[in-house]
């Protein structure tokens, strides 16, 4: 364990990348997820179709492949550089890939939340003359968000764990699991304490998230 603890700065460094990846991807996938959901229930058939195709397609593709595609294909195809240094460039491509992937799950969660809203609510809103966007903004989304707080928490937890894939799929972001593998390979510290140490690190991130979202979900639950 001492050998592991003497390398604690590497562990912390790895987890700092994990946290940054998680937070930024969570933010973008939430925005994109709401947009996809709005498209999915919109009056325009084409928008509905596009959103469905995107969500179903990306959701069925392994994350590894999505990230591989971002890191090896899209970056050069679009010919844009996202940052000056390579480390930040791959970081941002990882954020894009993770957001593109996670937004599908956010969208599906929101949609199932919308499905829990009683018919009468939206019918009442329509009979008051609310338009689609007003209906969505004032009636549907606020209630839907409250019912899906718990499941959204699970999406966030899954995202936290998924950031590990960014270390391998052609991107090589220096996040926690990569540090763990490097420490395994370089024989810096015995394997078991290293694994337990990194596992505790992830549990420190994910367990409180689970409890917080569970608590929040109970607090904001819609009584029906």
């Amino acid at each position: 364990m001492e050998a592991f603890l003497s390398n604690i700065d590497r562990v912390v460094d790895g987890f700092s990348w994990t946290v940054r990846l998680t937070l930024l991807s969570a933010f973008f996938s939430f925005i994109l997820g709401i947009l996809l959901t709005a498209m999915r229930v919109s009056p325009v058939p084409l928008l509905r179709g596009l959103s469905t195709a995107y969500v179903e397609g990306i959701r069925s593709t392994p994350l590894t492949l999505v990230l591989l595609f971002c890191g090896l294909g899209l970056n050069s195809a679009l010919g844009v550089s996202l940052a000056d240094s390579v480390a930040m460039d791959v970081f941002w491509w990882a954020v894009i890939g993770l957001s593109a992937y996670t937004s599908c799950f956010v969208s599906e969660t929101l949609r199932s939340g919308i499905n829990t809203i009683p018919l009468g609510q939206v019918e009442a809103a329509r009979s008051l003359g609310l338009t689609f966007t007003q209906n969505l903004r004032m009636i549907v989304v606020p209630q839907a968000l409250r019912t899906v707080v718990g499941p959204l928490g699970s999406v966030l937890i899954a995202l936290t764990k998924n950031t590990t894939v960014a270390s391998v799929a052609g991107l090589g972001v220096q996040e926690a699991s990569r540090e763990m593998k490097l420490m395994f390979d370089q024989g810096i510290a015995p394997v078991l304490p290293t694994f337990v140490g990194f596992a505790i690190g992830f549990l420190i991130l994910t367990l409180p998230m689970g409890y917080f979202f569970g608590w929040l979900a109970k607090r904001v639950a819609v009584v029906r």
């Binding site: 090896l72 970056n75 050069s76 195809a77 240094s85 390579v86 791959v90 391998v168 799929a169 052609g170 090589g172 593998k181 390979d185 024989g187």
Partner: protein, 280 residues
């Protein structure tokens, strides 16, 4: 009733799963049937599957220089060609494969280093490669490692080559790490990175695949002694391997294998007999 049905379904699924596992792992890149295990002893050798010229999965079994060398050594050790079981040895799992005994030996562009000698034994070297740089064909600015200052350099994860340039030679190049060299080549082809660096043998194989697109700088530096990786404490086996390697060079088989692998490229491979190192 329903409980029984569900149990039956679960049981059936379990049987199916076990049957599937019993079939084992299907050979990727193996289009022919492999019924002829040959009986008796087999030897498991780890080679690369993703390095053209050295060890490449070629729709049947791996082919390349490393594979030829491995076949020769195995024959000297008393195993015929069909008693060899090939396993893919990626850079990341070479040490653990040897430590665990997953493979009997590894011949996969495995450089002998003091660091690695602490965990595994090495026979050989059977070839001494040098490090070189691969760039886009139309990039004439890079003629050697010192030109990489401020450029982006790609290397595969688990490889030390890029660190030789950035750390040991203290050249200020930026590193982009990819999963393997074909990913590096993709990044080089689309201009995300300026150069790929690793052993000239590996680069030559890739350059030969796309001669119009890539150019080898041909300014080799350093030396990478390719050893035959063996589990720690196999001194006897190491001596046998060394004898086989000596014979391979004396008979001219080694040059023949190199000619097979790189004859069509303009890579000037080393024809000098490598100096064997003592078995620990």
């Amino acid at each position: 009733m329903r409980a029984r049905r569900i149990n039956t379904v679960l049981g059936g699924a379990a049987v199916l799963a076990l049957a599937l596992t019993a079939c084992g792992t299907a050979e990727v890149g193996d289009s022919g049937g492999d019924g002829d295990e040959g009986g008796g002893d087999t030897i498991t050798i780890g080679v690369k599957y993703d390095q053209p010229g050295l060890g490449l999965d070629e729709g049947g079994s791996p082919v390349g220089f490393d594979v030829d060398v491995a076949t020769f050594i195995a024959e000297e050790l008393g195993y015929s060609a069909d008693q060899i079981e090939w396993t893919e040895a990626a850079s990341a799992n070479r040490e653990s494969f040897l430590q665990q005994g997953t493979v009997d030996m590894i011949i996969a562009t495995y450089s002998i280093t003091d660091e690695r000698r602490q965990v595994v034994d090495f026979g050989g070297p059977y070839y001494v490669a040098q490090q070189d740089i691969l760039t886009q064909a139309d990039d004439s600015d890079i003629t050697g490692p010192e030109d990489l200052d401020g450029r982006v350099l790609c290397s595969a994860s688990g490889s030390r080559s890029a660190h030789n340039i950035t750390d040991d030679m203290e050249i200020d190049a930026e590193l982009r790490e990819a999963g393997n060299y074909s990913e590096c080549l993709e990044l080089l082809g689309n201009g995300t990175v300026d150069a790929v660096t690793t052993d000239n043998t590996i680069l030559a194989g890739f350059a030969a695949q796309n001669p119009d697109e890539f150019r080898m700088v041909n300014n080799p530096f350093g030396e990478e002694k390719y050893g035959v990786g063996l589990p720690a404490g196999s001194t006897e086996r190491c001596e046998e391997v060394n004898a086989a390697i000596t014979k391979m060079w004396e008979e001219g088989a080694a040059t023949e294998y190199l000619e097979d692998a790189f004859g069509t490229t303009d890579f000037a491979y080393e024809e000098e007999v490598p100096e064997l190192e003592a078995c620990a």
